[in-house]
Symmetry: C2
Subunit: 347 residues, 2 copies
Amino acid sequence: MIGAVRRALRLQDVAEAAGVSLATASRSLSGSNGVSPALAARVRAVADELGYVANIHARSLAGGSTSSIGLVVHEIGDPYFTEIAAGVMDVGEQHGLMVQVRQTRRDPDHELAQIRALVANRVDGILIAGSGYVDPRAEQAVRRQLEAFRSAGGRVAVIGRHHLGVDAVLPDNIAGGRTIAEHLLELGHRRVAILAGSRGLTTIADRLAGIAEAVEAAGGAPEDWPVIEAAFTRQGGKDAALRLLDDRADVTAVIALNDDMAIGALSVLRASGVSVPGDMSVAGFDDIEVATDIAPSLTTVRLPMREMGELALSLALSAPAARPRRRTTGHQLMVRDSTAAPRSQAV
Amino acid sequence: MIGAVRRALRLQDVAEAAGVSLATASRSLSGSNGVSPALAARVRAVADELGYVANIHARSLAGGSTSSIGLVVHEIGDPYFTEIAAGVMDVGEQHGLMVQVRQTRRDPDHELAQIRALVANRVDGILIAGSGYVDPRAEQAVRRQLEAFRSAGGRVAVIGRHHLGVDAVLPDNIAGGRTIAEHLLELGHRRVAILAGSRGLTTIADRLAGIAEAVEAAGGAPEDWPVIEAAFTRQGGKDAALRLLDDRADVTAVIALNDDMAIGALSVLRASGVSVPGDMSVAGFDDIEVATDIAPSLTTVRLPMREMGELALSLALSAPAARPRRRTTGHQLMVRDSTAAPRSQAV
DNA sequence: ATGAAAGCGCTAACAC
DNA sequence: GTGTTAGCGCTTTCAT
């Protein structure tokens, strides 16, 4: 070890140490041909010895692509997004792309800031995985930013219903909502509470719409199914469940609009001595991995999150189309232990 | 909107549109003084109008810092790391730093690649949050890379016991292991199985050491407590629990060396008709958020993950010390519903 | 208060 | 097969 240097090594340092020119050093390290294999190997050894790592800023400024793409999610620790991210990273790896994940925490300002940061980084593509907003104006600033990015050659795709005019992977939210409501209706439930995130999110709006369709189709009135709005998180599920118990609404089942809320609700119900599914059925949405490991295991609608991530990156990477493309996913009802016929009927 | 441009906007474009020089445009956007407020405001308006975002590569190449720091974790979806990341991001936000999170998936090669990517990005600091390896040679390459990074002015800190010669936040793994073992011993358990991750990780080694201390102090033989090694994940917990059931070892309790493994084990035990804590007590480690929401709620050792993240970034940001600093954390036993006296004794 | 010009470290023509 | 050199887009002296 030589004593402390005051700045990072440059390619020039490597070139000098190896006794070659800058260009030769560059070619040796990038693996492009035009250098004798022996020389190239020696240069690489010297670089390695020195602990040299090329400055990506200089490289990207001189050359072209950063070989990286950005993924914008609501919450980095949310399993829904984790599985999407896994899909994105898989496809990314196949294409030699590094994926950087950014979180918005469901704050539109923060979202815009993260997207700008990705643009500043000159990533090759931007994927937005969070829900869109029902109000198109909420996405105005993001839309303009993305338009500038795309006109400069950047690739963009979103997962979910947005008003961004770009390629989209559309989760089966409406049909999924219909399916889970039908499941409870078939079990005999007639009045079901819905624990929802903000209605301003298209994901929520769509899942609610699907549920309403099923209720109407069964001859019921959607208004009779109370919607309790809270944060779209485990804590939100707890809050909503507490409010539900307070209201003593005469519901026999609960649909949480994602599994995390469902897990929060289960926790509160257990603490309150409400047995599931005996006294109350609970259904979730998404089928995150842990849904099968909790007690009782959670009846839910499976969305293919991983594939959604794969699909989104594939869309972004494929040749741009004249008009925005849409890919829809399927869904699957996973019946487990948290739902059953209502007690009155079961007896 | 003007038609498609072929490349990203440059500061030059903004300067021309605003009718000023490049230098004035730069100063206006960076907020440095020497520009009349009115002019600066106009330039900013023009930039905004155009959707201009400065190229961070050019900026960092010309000026200095990237105002970003890198956080290296094992698994991005692991709640343990999510909470650490939250702490890091909080402190980062206070300092105007963007945090980019990278995952190693517990693959040393991948880890090195991610660290090199961070160095290439010329982040201001690198935080490593995963466990270290018991074998110092496993960290040799990373150590050398970090030395080069630091000698170029980069800041580094780690969470966990590593052989990297840098500032470190040391989780209370040994004492925590002792505490959880003491808890089970006090309940009357004499033979406890341990579901562990790879023994090559210092985290595992330390937690096991703490448990062994407690067993010896109680006059027992640590060898009598079988250690079942599996992946340090929920799935690993399931695998280990299945092997335990196969062996029909006469244990009355299980310690999983993290909560995720404990949750996997609980799932398998439930599926096999083993009641917890009736037939078998189960304890975890870490106290991830969901530990209180599952059924039965999980007895575990709480580590202050969030504070560990905050502390790590604070260490990295503070003036470099001549010798590596160490900060130790506390821990706290959280007794919940998953542990009880063994049946023979309870009767 | 504003502008002109010199780099930052690298890649990719372009010489030889 | 190897070396020389002109930028990439920005910040920052240094002039004015």
